[in-house]
Amino acid sequence: MATIREELQAAVRRLFEDDKIDYFLGYVDDYGHTFPAILTKDSDLSGLTFDRKSYNNLAAFLPELRGSRLGLICKQCEVRTLNVLAAEEQLEREKLVVVGVPCPAMIDPRKLSADEAELGSDDPALWQEKCRRCLERNTPTADLFVGEKISTPTPAEGWPLLEEVEAKPAEEREAWWREQMSLCIRCYACRLACPLCYCHQCFVEDNKPQWLDKSVGAENNLHYHIIRAIHLAGRCIECQECSRVCPVGIPVDVLNNVLSRDFASRFGYASGETAETKPALVAYERDDPEDFIL
C-alpha cells in the first residue's frame, strides 16, 4: 500500500501536470525537521510529506501567494482558518485546491526528546492540546482527499492549562502572568505565524500615534498580548501556532482561549465552524449580557 507520502506526491504531481495550480503549499522534511514549503511545477517533490511534525498553519502563507492558483494541504486547523477568512471576505476560495489528509495528531514539540521516539506513540498526552480537542481528523470539505480516512477519538473537554491558571487566586495569577510576560522578547512570531493576523500594518508598527513602546518589559508585553487577543476575539481557531512558535515558551494561546471559551458559552459561538459565521465582535444581539455595566 502506498504511504501518505507517496500518495501526496503523486496527487500534487497530477495537479501540476493538469495545470490546476501555480504553487503548492505543503510540508517537506529535511535535516530532521518538517517545515512548510512553497513548491512550483519545477520543484523536486521528493521531500513533500505529511507527518506528525507538520505543525505550521499553512493558511498563514496565503497573503504571500495571493492571486495565484494554489493547492494546499489542509488539516482541520487550516479548514477552520479558511472558514474565518471566507467570512471576513479575505479568501479567493475558487483559486484554492484544498487537499485533505487524515491528520494523525501533532506531537507537542516540547515533549519530543532528542531521538523523537514519541513520534511513533499514540499517547494523547504527547499531543498538542488542540489535537486532543479535535472534532474531525479527516479534512472536511476537501477538494481532494489523500490517504486512508482514520477515526477520530472522542474530543477531550476543557482547556487544561487555562483552567490551571484560572485556579490561582487573582494575585497569584497576576504574578504568574507578569513572570510569563517578562520573558517575552516581542519577536512577534506569535503574530506572524498566526493565519488570522493578516493586517497590512499591525498596531505595534504604528508610530502616529505610537501605541506601544518598543522596549520590552512585563507591562508593555502584556499590553501587546492583550490587544492581540482582543483582535482575535471570536476569530481565533485555536491552532496554537502562537504558543508553538514562542521561542521562550510562553503559552500565549491561553489568552485566546479565555475568550474562545467565554464567547462559546455567552454567545453560543465557535469560530471557524462554517464559512458563514460572522466573527463575534462584528455581530451583536440586543440582549447581550450587560450585568457589568453601571
Binding site: 491558571v165 484560572e166 487573582a170 494575585e171 497569584e172 495569577r173 497576576e174 504574578a175 504568574w176 502572568w177 507578569r178 517578562s182 498596531f203 501605541w211 513602546d213 522596549s215 520590552v216 518589559g217 512585563a218 507591562e219 508593555n220 502584556l222 499590553h223 492583550i226 490587544i227 487577543a229 482582543i230 476575539a233 471570536g234 489568552l255 479565555v258 475568550l259 467565554d262 464567547f263 455567552r266 463575534a280 465582535l281 462584528v282 455581530a283 451583536y284 440586543r286 447581550d288 449580557p289 450587560e290 457589568f292 455595566i293 453601571l294
Partner: protein, 152 residues
C-alpha cells in the same frame, strides 16, 4: 528592579487621589456630565474626560494606553442600548468591553479598575453617582502600578 507594590493595599496614603480617565460619548454621557455640572451636583473631581464620538469608538488600545500613562482607573460611558446616535455603536462596544474585561480579569487586574456605564444626556445625577462609585472603589483598592521591569 524593586518589588511591585501590593495592588490591593487597603489603606492608601490619605493624600493619594485616584486618577481616572473617562471616555465619554459625545451624544449622551458627555451631555450628562455637562448637565451634572450645570445642575451643580457635587461629585468627585478625579475623572479626566476625553470626549469621543461614540462608545464604539473606544479602542481597547486607548484604555490600556491610559493605564500605561498612569491612570488608576478607566471609565467608559455611552448611550443606553437603543439610544445610540449611530443606531448600534454601543452594541458593538458592549461586546468589545466584555472581551477586554474578561482578559483583564484573567491576568489579575482588579475588575474595579475598568468600569463601563450607560449615562444619558438627562442623567446628570446618575453620572455623579457613577463617578462617586468608581472613585470610592479606587480609593479602596489603591494606585495601579504595574511592575515596569523593562529597564536595563
Amino acid at each position: 528592579m524593586s518589588d511591585p507594590p501590593v495592588p490591593n493595599e487597603s489603606t492608601p496614603a490619605p493624600a493619594w487621589e485616584p486618577n481616572i480617565v473617562g471616555f465619554l460619548c459625545n451624544w449622551c454621557s458627555y451631555a450628562g456630565a455637562d448637565l451634572a455640572g450645570t445642575s451643580r451636583i457635587p461629585y468627585a473631581c478625579n475623572v479626566r474626560i476625553i470626549r469621543v464620538p461614540c462608545s464604539g469608538r473606544v479602542d481597547p488600545l486607548m484604555i490600556l494606553r491610559a493605564f500605561r500613562e498612569g491612570a488608576d482607573g478607566v471609565l467608559v460611558s455611552g448611550c443606553h442600548p437603543g439610544d445610540c446616535h449611530y443606531i448600534e455603536g454601543n452594541y458593538y462596544a458592549r461586546r468589545k468591553f466584555i472581551a477586554l474585561k474578561q482578559l483583564l480579569d484573567h491576568v489579575g487586574v482588579d475588575p474595579r479598575r475598568l468600569r463601563f456605564s450607560w449615562v444619558s444626556a438627562s442623567e446628570g445625577r446618575k453620572w455623579a453617582e457613577v463617578v462617586e462609585t468608581v472613585t470610592r472603589e479606587l480609593l479602596e483598592i489603591g494606585p495601579y502600578r504595574y511592575d515596569r521591569d523593562g529597564d536595563d
